[in-house]
Every structure is written in structure tokens, then in C-alpha cells.
Symmetry: C2
């Protein structure tokens, strides 16, 4: 369980297989985000049929609504949301980072003001582990201190060092929770003296997060410090796509690629757009996640092999074409641009749903195409061609 097998490499690009308690992932792969446990507006069957092998849940959002106690009582996130395949939960670190002005970061953890009701809450490495254990995803993420993409060396160092100290605390609590899970299995269970939560039965692994901003030396120290606290079944790269220029992200990925353990999956957090997936895979990344597919979809913005399409435009009024003639998604198989535009203009939520589904499939398909190209030892040619066509259309 939690084993990763590297099947083939093509330059820095990798094709692999990751086994998790709820199923197998073929990488590289995009992971759709299910903020509240479901990919926004989409039915789990639709997400599965679109090719998703794993979805993400947001610990911060699920902690606020409905709360981990409810999800634990319902048997964990998989059972609660009726999603049978693998899941990953983030730690809440990035979410509270995003609440700029509404949170205070200290060594103990983060105090934040809820974006929903203004109540004050805290997240610590320990509580993040406890919440994620209650949610019961296959993969839990370490609680990290994210800094902005333009952060100075000093600020980035502070966040990176704190992330390492927090990783030690995460690991300790995660191990305690795992022991308790084992106890629970052999007839233990909750005792009055314990404040630890009860568990869904599924096993869970913990992945650390590399920080260090845009500073290569800090990234290297972060990786070394992380590996020293290992072993790990996978490693995430955080704090990218948070305001730094794209070339900086690419450079950081390149500087890490040679130093990351070859036999562990690499997850680039919060990335990205279709071209970011291709660029990331070219630099050795195996896993990605991003809300843009559904967020853009809700606003009628679709990625297509012919560039970006804004479906609300009047030019689509009687446009018989599908969003993307080259796409194999359920939306493109059935509905015209004219009808999708009509749904958006008339305000029927079926429109949001159909374009979101298309965007999710578009990203999943990029992962599948890249994997096939790597297996065929043709990734360089494929990725150069893909990026050239995509940017030409974007510019047009």
C-alpha cells in the first residue's frame, strides 16, 4: 500500500503507478478539487466517467462545514460523499494563507477568522492531523507555512524552517493517530481519558510539503530537511503558483527535479492550467490539483484545443459546434455552443455544470496524453507540439 512504481521516464518526465487504499492511480495525473467533498456542481459518477482517479477535499472548508465530527460520524469522507476512489485532503495551510488579514501565524499554529461567520478558530499541525484523520482520505498533507511568491529570502526562510518544525509535529501526531487506529482495530476504541478522535477504518499516509519560495538554496534546504524527517510515501511541492512569474516556477522545479527521490510520487500543489501541467510534467511532476477547471467553468470559460472559449459571447448565439471538436467529454458529445451559451444567459445551472465537466475532462486528458507520450518515449515531441499549438491559439 502507498507504493509508487516508476514505469518509464522520458527525459525528466515520468510515467508511474501509485497504489492507495481506495484504488490505483496512473501518473502523471490531474486531481480535481472537491472543496466541500464534491467537485463543485458535479455528480461523482460524472467525475469518475470523466477519468478522475482521485479527488481532493479541503480540510479548512470541511472543518467549518459540516465539521469533521459530522463526517467522522458518517463513516469518513468517502462514505459521506459517495466517492469510492482515492481521496487526498490538503492540510488547511494554504487556505489560511489565503485569508490574508484574517489570520495570525505563530509557532503554535494559525489563528483565523472564519470567512463564513467571523468566528475565531485555530489550526495547528496537530489539529490538522486530527481533522484529516477524521476525514479519512488516503493521503493527508502536512500543515505548512506558505509565503507569497514574491517573498524575500528572509521571509521565505522563516516559512520554510517553520514548515520543517511543523512537519516534525505533524509526523508525531500522525503516528500517534495511526497507532490509535491500529488499537481501534483490535477492539480498543475511544476511552474517556483520550481526547483523540475515533477513526474510519481506512489507512492513511502523510505527505510532506517542500517550501522555500522562489529561492533555490532554500528549496534545497527544505528538501534535505524534509528527507531527514522521512521516510515518506510521496512528496509535495508547495508555495508555487502564488504570484511568482512562471519562469521562476519552472526554475524551482528544475532545481528540485534531480534531488527528489526517484521512487516517490511528486505532487505540485495548486497547479494548474493546462499548459502548467505540460510544463510541470516536463520537469518531473507526477500529480497536480487546481480549482480553475470548475471556477472557470462556472463563469463560462472553457479550455479547448482551439484556445480559450468564453461561452457567453454573442458570437456563439447560433454556433452549432461543440466547445471542442477534439474533446471526448460528455458535454462535447451532445451539446452545441449555442445551447451552452443559452443556458448561461438564461441562468440555468446546467450550463455551469456542463462547462465545468468539460474543463475537468480537458485537464484529465492532458495527463492521459502526457502519460501515453512518455510510455511511447515521445514526450518531448508531444509536449513541444502541444505547447506550440496551445500558445498559438491563446495568442490568436
Amino acid at each position: 500500500m502507498f507504493t509508487f512504481r516508476l514505469e518509464r521516464a522520458c527525459g525528466a518526465a515520468r510515467a508511474g503507478v501509485l497504489d492507495l487504499p481506495h484504488g490505483r492511480l496512473l501518473t502523471p495525473a490531474f486531481m480535481p478539487v472537491g472543496t466541500y467533498g464534491t467537485v463543485r456542481g458535479l455528480h461523482p459518477d460524472e467525475v469518475e466517467q470523466a477519468g478522475a482517479q482521485i479527488i481532493l477535499g479541503n480540510t479548512y472548508h470541511l472543518h467549518l462545514r459540516p465539521g469533521e465530527a459530522v463526517i467522522r460520524a458518517m463513516g469518513g469522507l468517502h462514505r459521506f460523499t459517495a466517492w469510492p476512489r482515492p481521496m487526498l485532503t490538503d492540510s488547511g495551510g494554504f487556505q489560511v494563507f489565503s485569508l490574508a488579514g484574517l489570520r495570525t501565524i505563530a509557532e503554535e499554529g494559525v489563528e483565523f477568522t472564519s470567512h463564513i461567520d467571523g468566528s475565531v478558530g485555530t489550526l495547528t499541525p496537530e489539529s490538522s492531523m486530527e481533522i484529516q484523520a477524521a476525514l479519512g482520505a488516503d493521503i493527508a498533507m502536512a500543515f505548512d507555512h506558505v509565503v507569497p511568491g514574491q517573498a524575500s529570502w528572509a521571509l521565505a526562510e522563516e516559512g520554510m524552517e517553520r514548515t520543517l518544525r511543523w512537519l516534525t509535529r505533524c509526523r508525531r501526531r500522525h503516528d500517534e493517530l495511526a497507532e490509535r487506529r491500529e488499537d481501534g482495530r483490535t477492539g480498543g476504541g475511544e476511552t474517556e481519558s483520550s481526547r483523540l478522535p475515533a477513526f474510519p477504518s481506512s489507512r492513511q499516509t502523510l505527505w510532506p510539503i517542500i517550501q522555500g519560495g522562489s529561492h533555490d538554496d532554500l528549496r534545497t534546504r527544505s528538501l534535505e530537511g524534509t528527507l531527514a524527517r522521512g521516510p515518506w510515501t510521496g512528496i509535495a511541492i508547495g508555495g508555487l503558483s502564488v504570484g511568482e512569474p512562471k519562469p521562476v516556477m519552472h526554475r524551482v522545479l528544475e532545481s528540485l527535479a534531480g534531488a527528489l527521490p526517484v521512487d516517490r510520487p511528486r505532487y505540485l500543489m495548486g497547479v494548474g492550467f493546462p499548459e502548467d501541467l505540460v510544463e510541470g510534467i516536463a520537469r518531473g511532476v507526477d500529480l497536480f490539483d487546481c480549482v480553475a477547471a470548475t471556477r472557470n467553468g462556472r463563469h463560462g470559460s472553457a479550455w479547448t484545443s482551439g484556445g480559450r472559449v468564453n461561452i457567453r459571447k454573442a458570437s456563439h448565439r447560433t454556433d452549432e459546434r461543440p466547445l471542442d471538436a477534439a474533446c471526448d467529454c460528455a458535454t462535447c458529445a451532445r451539446f452545441s455552443r449555442a445551447y451552452l451559451r443559452h443556458l448561461f444567459v438564461a441562468g440555468d445551472i446546467l450550463g455551469l455544470r456542463l462547462v465545468s465537466l468539460h474543463n475537468v475532462r480537458f485537464l484529465l486528458s492532458v495527463g492521459e496524453q502526457a502519460r501515453a507520450a512518455i510510455q511511447a518515449q515521445d514526450f518531448d515531441r508531444w509536449s513541444r507540439g502541444w505547447l506550440r499549438r496551445y500558445h498559438a491559439k491563446e495568442d490568436a
Copy 2:
């Protein structure tokens, strides 16, 4: 085509078969409303899998958005919305009636102020026929003058008589349009001298609407006047469920039941709730439509065999049960009340969609159960039992 075969009667209740250009309907049946051509928020596949044999489109709404010219250019409503089964369009009469204060009714037609942009438009018997011909549903409805449920005899008579005069005009224009359709098939098509719209190829029938408010003598005159302008392939009863008490609606249906032609389908417009279907079928009605299934669904209100359920209530926080254990819909097969509540509280549109789907299936199932009971010559016992259980739960 457009033939109705009465298979079996059980008291006043009827089981029949109606053949339409896009398929066959088994009656009695509920017809889900697709205001903008799609049942709000639902995918046509979901609606079909829930058992819908036909859906409605609203001429008023489709005239405003996207406009019949767009739909005609896209090959008609079926092709535009990717719904392969029968469709019916209302005439806009009820919609403009609902725009109280925003419309003026005169002999020529209705002048109304758009609820969207405040622009002024008109609907006449002729333009309603032209729009509906462009939409291309299997069944078009006559343009009628609806009066409130509490309307006086004099006001109800005025609306009823005008509806008859308008029916004559509807019929004439509908016949002209049908001739033109035939011409189109034999190579005719649009000429510069003609102001009539071009056509989708599918044939269309016109159904008249009985008016007369809550006054039995006016209803009888309306029916006689309508039959005198026939023949018709089906007859609708309008102007009910518009504010009058339920017993009045039942009495009007009873007074009409014996006088309506036995060999034509009867459609009770804008009705209704589950108990209204059972009461209507018991009085000889074959077809129903109502937006309540999806409107209530969007607010988290579900019909169940255990009475009405408000899924937002805190009592469902960790409720493992489906909305209705006796329901065979896709929502009840997979999702708990706890999860549905979470989706509503967190504001994910998947919640609206799942509860809407359940409600649509609930009404479709009432039609199917009633049909089976009629075929088994057991309708009385079934309907009395159904109503007793339903009202007991509603009161509880």
C-alpha cells in the same frame, strides 16, 4: 400520429397510450417543465432515466431568451436542447397572465413588459402559433386568456369567450403554418413575399384550452365552444390551481369529466403537487405539468412517502437515511440526508440538482403507480390508500 388509445378505465380514472412524432406516452403521466428548454439544472439523460416521457417548454421564456429565431436556426427545440423525446410548448397565455401589472390584455392580444429588461413585447394568437411552430414541439397550445381563481362570473365569462375567439384565430394560423410546412417539404421554403417563419420538419398538433374559472356553466360553454371549433387531438383544462380552493378544482374537473370526449387525452395545466395528481387522475385527467418539483427542489424541499422533508433542517445533520427509503430515484440510491443537507448548507449546486431530480421522479412515479392500479382495476383502493397515507404524514 397524435392518436390516443384508451386502454382501460377504472371509474373515471383512465390508462391510455398517446403517439406523438417523437415517441409514445403512457398515461396518466406527469410532464416535467423545462422552462428554458431544459428541466432546471438537470441533464436530459437524468430526466429520461427518471422516467420522463415528455417535457414542456415555456413559449414566453424561450421567446425572450434565446428567441425563436435562434432555436429555429438550430433546427428546433429538440435538436437545440438535445432532448430526443416528445415535447409540448405552452402558449405564453399563462405566463403573461402571471405578469400582473406588467401586461395589458386586449382583443388583438397581450402587450407585456419583459421581466428581464423591461422592453415591451406583444403576444397574439397568431404570434404564439408562429413562435411555437418555430420551436417545433410535438404539441402546441392555444393562446388563452386566463383569469384568477376567484374571478367573478362576468370576468370569467369575458376570459372564456375571448379564449374561444382566440382559438379560432390560433386554429387558422396553425393550419396556415402546417400548409406551409408541407410546402417546405416539397421544395417550397421561404419566399421574400412571405413573413411566415421557416420550419423544423417535425409535425405539430394544436390543443385547445378550456377556461371559465370556477363557474360550471361557463366551463360547459367553454367545452362546447371548443368542440365546435374542433376536431382536436387532445384537450387541456386551464385556469385551475390559480388561487381557487382545492374542492372547487375537484368540482370543475368532475363537472367536465362526463362531457369531455372519451377518446382524447385530457391535460390539466399547471397542476401539480403529488396529491393533486392522484385527485386529478381520479377525475379522468391524463396529463399534468408543474414547476413545483424543481422549484421546491432548489429550496431543499422534497416530497417523500413519509411526507414533506426540508433537507436544510439541522435534524438531518448526521442522518444516514436517504430522502425516501421507498423511492427508486438515483439520488435516494446513493446519497444520505446528511450529505444532501451539507451540500445545501455549503451552497454546492449539486444539492439543488439531487433534490430536484428526486422530486421529478416522485411525481413521475405517482403517474406510473396510478397507471398500474388502473390496469389492475384497483385504482380506487390504491388512490384512497395513497391519499390517506400522504395526508396522515403531511399532518404529522
